[in-house]
């Protein structure tokens, strides 16, 4: 019974269906319960929260990641699935604290100064939340000093920066320098992403990782997290 419910949640993440009125990737699903309804149901039936997140949402999103990588899924399909995870997480969030489930870590995310693009950053945020991280989104057009102050106050383990423009990517560099000057650089692992940047650029400015898309961002975060433990 529980297994059925979890696999239904997973299936609806793959289909990208939040509610019962939603279409899915495949045809003919309108009217069947979506991830929100199923998550509510799982909560009332007392299904283990970690199971909902791991076996339902995360396993579903992993498959979405594979489908996106192979080109079977396009951006709107992936977005619909990410939003589905986001909606389910919103339902679960009030229950997480009481149940004693620990976050995998806290990450601050921001699109850097002069850059108003936030779609990619938002996708990454949803995927990271779904993967069990606590995400604090500073927004877009965020100056280096603002990021430094936020790092000082929030004490995150990770910082994620996004830049879509070749004219704004320089601010990633500036932010890292500002963190170094404030003595905070060693306190956070920094990952960057966005159309303007690359693995080489990440290395050149001394970031800890580069993600070409949201799924890679999650993988890199998990890898960095494991390296920190060791």
């Amino acid at each position: 019974m529980t297994e059925d419910l979890l696999s239904l949640i997973k299936e609806n993440v793959i289909q990208g269906r939040i509610a019962q009125d939603d279409e899915g990737f495949d045809e003919g699903l309108v009217g069947q319960p979506g991830a929100s309804e199923l998550t509510e149901k799982a909560l009332t039936e007392g299904v283990n929260l970690e199971d909902i997140i791991n076996k339902g949402l995360t396993e579903g999103m992993n498959i979405v990641g594979q489908k996106f990588e192979t080109g079977e899924y396009y951006i709107p399909d992936m977005l619909a699935s990410a939003e589905t995870v986001g909606a389910a997480m919103e339902i679960l969030e009030p229950h997480l604290a009481q149940s004693g489930i620990k976050s995998k870590g806290k990450i601050l995310v921001a699109t850097v100064k002069g850059d108003l693009h936030d779609i990619g950053k938002n996708i990454v945020s949803i995927l990271l939340r779904g993967a069990g991280y606590t995400v604090k989104d500073l927004g877009n057009d965020i100056a280096p000093q603002t990021i430094v102050e936020a790092v000082r106050e929030e004490r995150p383990q990770f910082l994620g920066m996004s830049a879509l423009l070749t004219s704004t990517m320089i601010h990633m560099n500036n932010t890292i320098e500002a963190l170094t000057e404030s003595g905070l650089r060693d306190k956070v692992k920094i990952i960057i992403g966005g159309a303007a940047v690359s693995e080489e650029f990440a290395q050149s400015i001394g970031a800890n990782g580069y993600g070409a898309d949201g799924f890679q961002a999650v993988k890199i975060m998990d890898a960095l997290r494991n390296s920190m433990k060791g």
Partner: protein, 269 residues
């Protein structure tokens, strides 16, 4: 966009011959092909012209039955003659259907409107009265007002009415594209609950590369609020444009319709 397949129309010679010779298989083939191509409704028109007017009710009845043998898609009964529509309705099995068409011409509006109300059918209403297609937006809207008043009085709801703003060939009057589009826009703003429909091909009459013109016009009409279109669904390029237009006008959440059509391999760029 609701797709109404236009291919079973007796004004097409091969269709007329098939109707005369009661070539069930040929007509059923046309129906099947349109359904496969994505038609939501199948229009049936049995009007063979003078000489066969008395036989038409029986002919229409036969045609409706023949087409319904091979598809569950709803039909559009295409006739302006109440007795022909009545014959079609007698043979029609199925819930939804559409009647094509009424105008503001009072007698037919009343008789066909009553038939539609009794059956709770959707009705295509041409934005014209007894005097042919008006050349101005105001006159076309006046016809719509009369039709709306009468049909709702007879017991139909606004959402059951599909107004056709009508198209005159752009080759004859270069303003006619805008007249149709403005009329369409005005209908949507006066009667938000009502639907709109167009047969596209008239716009390009008398010009070369007609399909190009029809496609361009479809995109503009989609922006102006078009809900349904009467066309040949086997025109895959046009059908591809419709998928793109639905997506671009916000009718396709998560671009599902577009990407699904792409997966099925039916989009052509």
């Amino acid at each position: 966009m609701i797709i109404i397949g236009e291919n079973i129309n007796a004004s097409n010679r091969s269709v007329a011959e098939a109707i005369v010779s009661r070539d069930r298989e040929f007509l059923q083939g046309l129906a099947r092909a349109q359904v496969t191509a994505g038609a939501d409704f199948i229009d049936v028109n049995s009007s063979l012209g003078s000489g066969s007017i008395e036989d038409e009710p029986a002919t229409m009845g036969w045609l409706v039955e023949a087409v319904q043998e091979v598809t569950d898609r709803p039909l559009v009964i295409d006739s302006d003659r109440p007795e022909v529509i009545e014959a079609a309705l007698r043979r029609y099995r199925g819930e939804r259907l559409m009647i094509n068409s009424v105008t503001a011409q009072p007698e037919r509006l009343a008789s066909i409107g009553s038939l539609a109300a009794k059956r709770q059918a959707w009705v295509i209403a041409l934005a014209m009265g007894s005097e042919g297609i008006p050349s101005t937006v105001a006159e076309r809207l006046a016809a719509c007002d009369q039709i709306m008043a009468r049909l709702t009085q007879l017991g139909l709801e606004a959402e059951q009415i599909f107004f056709d703003p009508l198209i005159l060939p752009i080759a004859v009057d270069s303003h006619q594209g805008m007249v149709s589009l403005k009329t369409l826009e005005q209908i949507k703003s006066h009667y938000p609950a009502a639907k709109t429909v167009l047969g596209l091909s008239n716009i390009s009459y008398g010009l070369p590369l007609r399909k190009l013109i029809n496609r361009a016009f479809l995109l503009m009409a989609a922006y102006a609020g078009l809900d349904a279109v009467i066309l040949n669904p086997l025109d895959t390029k046009m059908m591809s444009f419709i998928k793109a237009a639905d997506m671009l006008t916000g009718k396709d959440s998560s671009c599902r319709g577009y990407t699904r059509a792409h997966r099925k391999g039916i989009l052509e760029d």
